[in-house]
Symmetry: C2
Subunit: 274 residues, 2 copies
Amino acid sequence: MKRIAYLGPQGTYAEEATFTLFPEDFVSLPHPSIQGTLRALAKGEADFAVVPIENSIEGTVSATLDSLWVLPQLQVFKALVLPIRHCLITQEPSIETIRTVFSHPQALAQCQGWLEEHLGAIPCVPTASTVEALQKISSGVAVVASTRAAELYNLPILHAGINDAPDNCTRFWLVGPPGQSLAQPTRTSIGFSLHNNRAGALHDALTHFAIRNINLAKLESRPTKKVIGEYLFFADLEGDADQNPLKEALEELWASVEKLKILGTYPILALPQA
Amino acid sequence: MKRIAYLGPQGTYAEEATFTLFPEDFVSLPHPSIQGTLRALAKGEADFAVVPIENSIEGTVSATLDSLWVLPQLQVFKALVLPIRHCLITQEPSIETIRTVFSHPQALAQCQGWLEEHLGAIPCVPTASTVEALQKISSGVAVVASTRAAELYNLPILHAGINDAPDNCTRFWLVGPPGQSLAQPTRTSIGFSLHNNRAGALHDALTHFAIRNINLAKLESRPTKKVIGEYLFFADLEGDADQNPLKEALEELWASVEKLKILGTYPILALPQA
């Protein structure tokens, strides 16, 4: 059976992504942090890892990019876009008797409009994790979490789908040790650092793709963590890294940057909204 | 007296930045979130706001960019780079008797190496804020927070400067209603959205700066929050937006993008490491 590390604990959307990617049985290895999840894979304690890379509201999950940049020998095999559906979990029979809402700050932010409209000015208290919030369930308390979390902790859902953006979704990456692509790649993710901060260096790097009409689906800067104002760049490009024109563009980029890391070339799997 | 909104509560680095920017007396308006801080300014409840925009380790503070993009009529007047110096706060006489460490996840992450080396495998428990961590101070407990937080809550510092990166610093923005620049601007921050996701659109946008040798100090993509894979871009450019060559480049950019917002053109103030 395959050992799958994922961002836990039980009931997270990363766990839901793991079940979708591995419908057969697997050994479940939940980790409390993204760094820990990917480190377990790098150390050979797991065969694959499932981590979030981007949410449609919150943007890039920086910890995933930062870890993949420093950890050696890891490869993205697949992207999975999962719809996010937050629920109001409470033992109260109606919203009138709710006095406090607990959840992770991101979940609270994503439901802010709904909560203000239906619950008014009652306090929304941030917790370090959704699971910590669920432990606070008692009289007058509600928690924002997933359907799966409610099922796992055997708690009633009062309202489902309370996120303000109905098409809220999160992209997850399936990461493994280097190997053959699982299916025809349509997307390639890279990280690179430039020789210096000179004017136009980033523009020059992007020229290799622009002149070949290769779509830059995403571009992100991250601090080098050495000096404030020095950056690495992460880009998502349309196409297969082993086929032209992308292959040729990457070879040219390789010659012009300080360091280039191809994080993976992979297919994207999208799940319809429930 | 000026009314200054800042990311609170008391004892945060944002408060320290506020005291540095306003050495004279001011009316202190701490807010629990960045959105709330900037909204108070937009509603006229404050004369200025002080918010973090970037940390040398954690990268951009997305909430600041997202709020400035949607709130009308706000302008960045000054950037302040503040050294960050985390302390181990505890009532224990030595590290031998510490059994648990509480703090905000970012502060724990920034001291991870020091904590592992000096405290070994004892649990580091994330809290929603540094202040929540300080409320947990009791026998066997330590908290990672600022010198100022220790002073405010009258708690003893066992070790100062425990952050792994000694030159850890955070950039804050002083934001106000539109008006005259306070001093000679050296940096200009903009946000823009592109007409479509066509190949090369971002490259074309950057060309206006590259051909004029204008340094792009930073580039960040943020989700439009509508569809996953659609982005806004935020850029920091060297120079004064009201002087050539930047003035001319921005006029050209204006004509080629869907929306352009000049967040501010301002001087940067850097404080030496303590």
